[in-house]
């Protein structure tokens, strides 16, 4: 048998002295980035506190939010009522605490609905392409021609007031962002070489979708949803302020600002405190979103 020279060549990587390259855990890096800066941590804390406050509202609030006490109306902040009372004698602090429920529910529900609908539409547009793509995208463009507040105003006037209708109204208004994001991500990923490579290996379309494409869409979607909750809370506050929104007597921060506005001479706290609550909550979501974006965005890998 001919002894071939290359029989003697051992494959590299089997000798003892081969060191293992140090492995830096991706999860650890993400947590390090996220926890390394103060603002995302503050945002995260605010959100946790908010959720806790919403869940345990009955335990935290000193009074039921709708309990009227006309005798004690328009009180200044005191030890009995830390933020005073409104024109019907309801405790402002309790109303703010209960208001967190409304804001959180609306914010999260709207984002869930609009994201699901948007993702589905975006996927369809990107996947089917052609006419489907154009129809869906032009429809989104037309939808975006209406300022969100106006759109919500219109739909709310069409459907009437009430929490469900507000959620639908805001949901429709927020649909275009996740749709375009999803469509854009899928389209750009579809062209990438690693998708071609996976196809060449015989990966089915469905597996491709879940294993290659969706994981790439996940980070920007998550960031968008987080920041979107803040936007929805602001929009809902605006609607409640205009009187088109959640029906009284439910406590909503926007509605409280509207109520308090009339009595700003007597007790500015009535109008100012709900706004501060709105600010804190939106700030929390925004900072959380920023932190997520910095931690998840591949572009920042290794650049710290």
């Amino acid at each position: 048998m001919v002894k071939k020279a290359y029989n003697n060549i051992e494959p590299v990587g089997t000798r003892e002295w081969e060191e293992k390259a140090p492995r830096y855990s991706e999860t650890r890096r993400m947590i390090a980035v996220f926890a390394g800066r103060p603002l995302p941590i503050i945002g995260f804390t605010i959100i946790i506190l908010l959720v806790l406050m919403a869940i345990f509202a009955p335990l935290l609030a000193p009074y039921p939010p709708n309990q009227m006490d006309i005798v004690n109306k328009l009180q200044q902040p005191s030890s009995a009522h830390w933020l005073g009372t409104d024109s019907l004698g309801r405790d402002t602090l309790s109303r703010i605490i209960y208001g967190s429920r409304t804001s959180l529910i609306i914010g999260i529900t709207v984002m869930i609905i609009s994201s699901v609908a948007g993702i589905v539409l975006g996927l369809m547009a990107a996947y089917f392409g052609g006419a489907t793509y154009h129809i869906i995208m032009r429809f989104m463009d037309a939808l975006m021609a209406f300022p969100m507040l106006l759109l919500a105003l219109l739909i709310a006037s069409l459907l009437g007031v009430g929490m469900v209708n507000i959620i639908i109204a805001l949901g429709i208004g927020m649909i275009s962002a996740p749709c375009r994001l999803m469509c854009g991500v899928v389209l750009s990923v579809k062209q990438n070489d690693y998708v071609l490579a996976a196809r060449a290996m015989g990966m089915s379309n469905r597996r491709l979708m879940f294993q290659e494409i969706l994981p790439n869409a996940f980070p920007p979607l998550l960031v968008m949803i987080t920041i979107g909750i803040g936007a929805v809370i602001l929009a809902e506050a605006g609607l409640s302020f205009l009187g088109i929104g959640i029906t009284p007597p439910t406590a909503t921060w926007g509605g409280m600002v509207n109520d308090g506005y009339k009595f700003i001479m007597y007790n500015p706290v009535l109008a100012i405190s709900p706004g501060v609550a709105i600010m804190l909550v939106v700030f929390g979501f925004n900072m959380l979103g920023d932190g997520l974006r910095d931690a998840l965005d591949p572009k920042l890998r290794g650049v710290i």
Binding site: A5, E18, A32
Partner: protein, 330 residues
């Protein structure tokens, strides 16, 4: 004759959140007039950072030039601040640089003509009209067809090889004394590689510029460089005439490198390609001993118990940083 550029004991460190990276840890070399130098080393050994440090293009929050002198015509450049007038008049006009990635090194929103004429206007104080003429000539010189009309084209309308030619034209536009080419051919295909290298040599002769070719590809420097420096882990480990280094490598790293490269004319039976065992070192928390130690076939106890050796002569203008050569019989 005094060297045109002399780098003495340059040290550039980076503070990362994992630790201090000593990218360049005591590098000294010289460039004389009208010569072609090769700086060779594997990825991550610090050769690019060395060149960027000369021009003070290191981004300052993580990186910092902590020590050393960069004497251009006798004057230490590191005394000047990075954004100062003095440094600006050196960059582009006296020392120019071309980079590895032609696809991203040109500004996508400006025309090629604009990117060429701006250095002409700034450094040579040419009028816009004269600058345009000169830019046209330069493009023609580097082999871009239809040069005059190409002045108003944008970078995305050029291929990678053409963009690199444009970069060469920009770099040479103000007749610099030194041209630094940082991995100029790594990102292009082999045919274009050959063309670009020929072009660079031609330009260098025409403009009487010195050229520094920074690369990990020995083949590239073998043909063009007169002198070669071999870098490893932030330091120079061997330097000398190109012929000497290729025919008579003395440092174990260089020996290892040459063993990996197939030579024309050999057959499989005559020689095996032997890779250098091990991996490039992590530049954070380096030990004080020789960095090549874990991978060295000639390692001995002297190496293990002494700090990194300094450069010593083993021949005419041939230096290595190794303890091995002392015990070897020449």
């Amino acid at each position: 004759m005094a060297p045109l550029l002399r780098v003495e004991n340059l040290k550039t460190y980076f503070r990362t959140y994992r630790g201090l990276v000593k990218a360049v840890d005591g590098v000294s070399f010289e460039i004389n007039e009208k010569e072609i130098i090769g700086l060779v080393g594997e990825s991550g050994c610090g050769k690019s950072v060395t060149m960027l440090s000369i021009l003070q293009l290191i981004s300052s929050p993580p990186g910092e030039i902590v020590n050393g002198k960069v004497k251009y015509e006798g004057q230490d450049l590191l005394q000047y601040k990075s954004k100062s007038e003095a440094m600006n008049s050196i960059r582009g006009a006296k020392i120019a640089m071309i980079f590895q990635e032609p696809m991203t090194s040109l500004n996508p929103v400006l025309t090629i003509g604009r990117q060429l004429t701006e250095s002409l206007e700034i450094h040579l104080h040419m009028s816009p009209q004269a600058a345009k003429e000169r830019a046209s000539e330069l493009l023609h010189m580097v082999g871009i067809p239809d040069a005059k009309s190409r002045l108003s084209a944008y970078p995305h309308q050029f291929s990678g090889g053409m963009r690199q030619r444009v970069m060469i034209a920009i770099a040479l536009s103000c007749n610099p004394r030194i041209l630094i080419a940082d991995e100029p051919t790594t990102a292009v295909d082999v045919t274009t590689q050959a063309q670009l290298l020929e072009l660079m040599q031609d330009m260098v002769n025409r403009f009487s510029t010195s050229l520094v070719i920074v690369t990990h590809n020995l083949g590239v420097v073998a043909r063009y460089a007169e002198r070669i420096y071999v870098m490893y882990s932030g330091r120079i480990v061997e330097s000398g005439w190109a012929n000497d280094i290729f025919l008579n490598p003395r440092h174990p790293y260089t020996i290892g490198l040459l063993k990996c490269v197939p030579q024309l004319g050999e057959t499989r039976q005559e020689r095996k390609l032997v890779p250098i065992k091990g991996l490039p070192p992590n530049l954070i928390n380096m030990p004080a001993t020789c960095a090549f130690l874990p991978r060295c076939d000639f390692a001995s106890d002297i190496c293990r118990s002494n700090p990194w050796p300094s450069l010593e002569a083993v021949g005419e203008n041939h230096y290595i940083a190794c303890y091995y050569h002392k015990s070897e019989k020449p």
